[in-house]
């Protein structure tokens, strides 16, 4: 299996690529439009610098060379949701070329994928077929929203690698705040080119292009299905026909697109309404300097600076926000591995249960740090800490406040503990007698009873010590 991916990514700009209209998602149809993105006669595009900055940032994050000179071009075709009758894109002079994305940290070249190019373009509008019976409605809110297209070389050799590529790409785009990169919401779209060749063959087979996938796992499944189809054809001695295939997630099958959807002569030519894009070295340097720490570097730093297992580093750096949260917990004084266990355990569980992101979590990292310090100092038990966190996560209250209100502070005072122990021993003379006579295995049972008698507040470590002390006397 030989696979190359073409990934379209919506840039997180406030306004469109060539006009000041909002890029806000979900507005009333055609509310976010103006003469430019409606392609009214006489309207002209003006480039949004913020979009260029995000595009260049993404390109740098993918290790590309960003060119000082690039050229916008018109891609001409008729479609009702393409209001100008052409899309402003880049063709023979793209913004950036020659990048690389590693599929594994520290991977050798064989485990990385070359990025052929990154170019900028505008999105089309939407054709709405199910709104009015017998007619198609057009919503041009999306018309002119900024995209980058990231084109990989055909370096992927399995569906799993394609999935890994996309997940890593998404992570980089999120870290750099270039895009939401959400395939379900359409802010990231993937077309896959796939061909098949026998072991040892060096030339590429005839490729097909698969479209219409709406999740990363959908991409993986579609590649497997298409690969199987191509293999079957070749085994029967038939040929693969170069064509566009559409993935049907419902039935898990691919079918050829109508030939009309593929045979275009786009008649590209340089966009005369926009001068060539010139980026100064200083500007490019500033984009480069502003790049945040990328996921791979952060994973490595987590392993090295915090002595975390690679697995933990991987989980904690899944998103930039989560990694920031974890680091803030550590910064507030928590021991790194303890903080890691809590973030990967309680915190992620809470996010999952509540269906929220880390930014929506009411408990701030410094508060979690305080809670962990309370555990460390014996002020609360581990189980009480879990109960406290459950409340913090909802209300954002300080852990001490919750511990006091709910009476969850651990009691470590010897006289109080001794009183509880005395009470338990008195209430259970049989067990008490056997324990004091040397039946050590009963200690656990008695600790449990003391804990129960204390309403969970007793410090179990101290109860153990005190009970053991009684036998010795």
């Amino acid at each position: 299996m030989v696979v190359g991916l073409e990934v379209h990514v919506h840039l997180l700009t406030k306004t469109k690529l060539f006009c000041p209209c909002s890029t806000e998602f979900g507005a009333t149809p055609n509310a976010n439009t103006c003469p430019v993105c409606l392609a009214l006669p006489g309207a002209l595009p003006v480039l949004n610098e913020a979009a260029v900055r995000l595009a260049a940032r993404a390109a740098y994050a993918l290790g590309c060379t960003v060119h000082e000179d690039s050229v916008f071009a018109r891609k001409n075709y008729f479609y009702p949701d393409l209001p100008k009758g052409y899309q402003i894109s880049q063709f023979d002079r793209p913004l950036a070329t020659d990048g690389r994305l590693a599929l594994e940290d520290g991977a050798d070249e064989a485990r990385s994928v070359r990025i052929h190019r990154v170019h900028m373009e505008e999105d089309a509008g939407k054709s709405v077929h199910d709104r009015y019976a017998g007619s198609t409605a057009i919503d041009l809110n999306r018309s002119g929203t900024p995209l980058i297209e990231i084109v990989s070389e055909p370096d992927l050799r399995s569906a799993a690698d394609a999935g890994a590529f996309l997940r890593r790409l998404k992570q980089i785009l999120e870290y750099t705040e270039v895009s939401d990169a959400n395939m379900e919401e359409g802010s990231l779209r993937v077309d896959a080119n796939i061909s098949t060749r026998g072991p040892g063959a060096s030339t590429l087979g005839t490729k097909t292009e698969i479209k219409n996938m709406n999740s990363f796992s959908g991409v993986e499944r579609a590649l497997e299905v298409e690969f199987a189809r191509q293999c079957a054809l070749l085994e029967r001695g038939e040929r693969v026909v170069q064509q566009t295939m559409l993935w049907d997630a419902g039935s898990g099958t691919v079918r050829p697109a109508r030939s009309k959807e593929e045979s275009h002569d786009y008649r590209y030519f340089p966009e005369p309404d926009l001068p060539p894009l010139r980026l100064t070295r200083e500007w490019l340097a500033s984009v480069r300097t502003d790049l945040p720490e990328l996921p791979a570097a952060r994973r490595q730093r987590f392993v090295e600076s915090f002595s975390l297992p690679a697995y933990d580093a991987d989980v904690l750096t899944a998103t930039r926000d989560l990694a920031d949260y974890f680091e803030a917990v550590v910064a507030s004084g928590a021991e790194a591995k303890v903080a890691a266990n809590w973030v990967m355990g309680e915190v992620l569980a809470r996010l999952k249960d509540a269906g929220i992101g880390i930014r929506e979590l009411a408990a701030r990292p410094a508060q979690l740090g305080v809670l962990l310090a309370m555990v460390r100092d014996g002020a609360v038990s581990h189980s009480a800490a879990k109960a406290i966190f459950a409340q913090m996560a909802k209300t954002g209250e300080d852990p001490a406040v919750i511990a006091d209100r709910e009476g969850l502070r651990q009691v470590g005072d010897d006289s109080q503990l001794s009183a509880w122990i005395d009470g338990v021993l008195a209430a259970h003379p049989d067990e008490a007698g056997r324990f004091l006579a040397g039946e050590k295995k009963l200690q656990g049972v008695l600790v449990g009873m003391v804990m129960k008698a204390s309403g969970g507040k007793a410090d179990p470590k101290k109860v153990n010590q005190l009970l053991a002390g009684r036998v010795a006397t």
């Binding site: 006669p41 006489g42 001409n76 009758g85 052409y86 057009i138 030519f269 005369p272």
Partner: protein, 484 residues
């Protein structure tokens, strides 16, 4: 209109005349010359009542602040006709095409907004070759415009309506647009002044695109000064047009005070071929003599790639047009005719909405951009375009300030006289070079042949309209004074 644009503005500003009286005079004159469909067919859209209401509103608003600062409203009360491919919110913008028959723009073109801000009133939209494709204004879906000087003849094109509006004395200033000579050539045919500014000097925002890399809004004036005032009002950077230049315009009217001493005028030999009508050659040479006598230095120069301009133009312009006109698809505005499915709708709308010349150019442009032909046509044409531009740059770099050439190879021809498209295209032979090179050019009346006006053309370096105006003011004065 007997008063110049400047006199009109001064008169309105000082209260000597009302805006209403000025606008009434426009309509009176329009009726007198027969500007309507049954007459010269100059005006496509107007709303006289609305114009008079607007005039009254302006008259009521005559505040003292305008009296104090005339620069704030340099065209105060000046009526202007605008070519129908320039977007106006007050009147339809049809581009002389059936496909936009009822189209009203929801926004004003930058040039229109600037005219209004300068105090001008848009009194009507003028006839034109459909989408500015033509050299005679015969390609309008609304019938040809006739030349006011001889109604059996064309006014030139594609901005023939605006040229005729000025030539017939309806107004002193009108806006046209240029892609290959569509202001200068009709100015020559109608005996008025026509200016094509440097590409980027005037915003194209709201000018319905024909060929984006060549298009530029131009100005007609009865006199050089009318044209200077008009250009002054619309020129300058516009954040809505990425191809507009940040270079600020000069005060063109100040050029009337400059002498010709030290001005070097080039006479490019390629613009005076043996085949040139000797009477037109004589008029050019007389103009040169006049300018020489006023102190200009004249030298022969060469622009070797001139003969390639028309072939290059007829590749580049249709290529861009084929893309620019794709938006007229019946989906969002303009004509929509139903057909079999989506493709059928496109076909019915576009084949009925566009006239034959527009269709021809869309097909030509689609062809030269298509796979396998791009390199042979478009890429090669763009390379030659670079050579044409370099020809000019070299001449100007060598110390020449302004070039003088004939504007057009002929005088106004008879309506219907030219049916061969190629012959029609040759009408732009002396003007298309300036569009390809992006330099400014203007046509100034310099004489007549058999009673038909002949203009001479001045060309200047990028953004050096000022020196072009120096020469134009001087020539105009010299001709009016009769001195040779």
């Amino acid at each position: 209109m007997s008063l110049s644009a400047r006199e009109t503005a001064d008169g309105v500003r000082s209260g000597q005349r009302t805006t209403r009286s000025v606008v009434e005079e426009v309509f009176r004159r329009a009726d007198e010359v027969g500007a309507g469909k049954d007459g010269l067919n100059i005006v496509l859209h107007e709303d006289r009542e609305a114009s008079l209401r607007e005039a009254d509103l302006r008259d009521g608003k005559s505040g003292a602040s305008y009296l104090v600062n005339p620069n704030a409203r340099p065209l105060k009360g000046v009526p202007v006709y605008v070519k129908d491919n320039i977007a106006t919110t007050t009147l339809r913008t049809t581009c002389g095409s059936r496909i936009l028959a009822d189209y009203v723009s929801p926004y004003d073109a930058t040039v229109v907004a600037r005219l209004r801000k300068a105090g001008a009133l848009i009194v009507g939209k003028t006839n034109m070759d459909e989408f500015a494709m033509g050299s005679s204004t015969e390609n309008s879906a609304y019938g040809p415009t006739k030349n006011p000087i001889d109604p059996t003849r064309v006014p030139g094109g594609s901005s023939g309506g605006s040229a005729a509006a000025v030539a017939s004395g309806m107004v002193r200033i009108a806006l046209g647009s240029e892609t290959g000579g569509s202001v200068r050539q009709p100015a020559s045919f109608c005996g008025i002044v026509g200016v094509k500014p440097t590409y980027g000097r005037v915003s194209r925002y709201g000018l319905v695109a024909f060929a984006s890399s060549l298009d530029q809004v131009g100005v007609f004036g009865r006199t050089v000064d009318d044209a200077a005032l008009g250009l002054q009002a619309i020129a300058g950077p516009d954040p809505r047009d990425a191809t507009s230049s940040p270079i600020e315009p000069q005060a063109y009217h100040a050029a009337q005070h400059d002498s010709l001493e030290g001005l070097v005028i080039g006479r490019p030999r390629e613009y005076f071929p043996d085949s040139l009508d000797p009477r037109i050659r004589d008029i050019c040479d007389q103009a040169i003599e006049r300018l020489k006598s006023l102190g200009a230095e004249v030298c022969d120069v060469s622009l070797p790639h001139t003969s390639l301009a028309i072939p290059v133009y007829y590749i580049v312009a249709p290529a861009e047009a084929s893309s620019n006109l794709a938006r007229f698809d019946g989906v969002r505005y303009g004509l929509r005719l139903s057909g079999d499915g989506l493709e059928g709708m496109y076909e019915a709308t576009r084949s009925n909405g566009f006239g034959p010349e527009v269709t021809r150019r869309i097909l030509l442009g689609t062809y030269v951009l298509s796979a396998g032909y791009y390199d042979a046509y478009y890429r090669k044409a763009m390379a030659i375009r670079g050579l044409i531009r370099r020809d000019f740059e070299q001449v100007f770099a060598a110390g020449v300030h302004v070039l003088l050439t004939p504007t057009a190879p002929t005088t106004a021809f008879k309506l219907g006289a030219i049916s061969d498209p190629y012959e029609m295209y040759m009408s732009d032979i002396f003007t298309a070079t300036a569009n390809l090179a992006g330099i400014p050019g203007m046509s100034v009346p310099a004489g007549a042949v058999e009673g038909l006006p002949v203009g001479v053309q001045f060309l200047a370096s990028h953004f050096d309209e000022y020196r072009m105006f120096v020469a134009a003011y001087a020539l105009e004065r010299a001709i009016a004074g009769g001195a040779v």
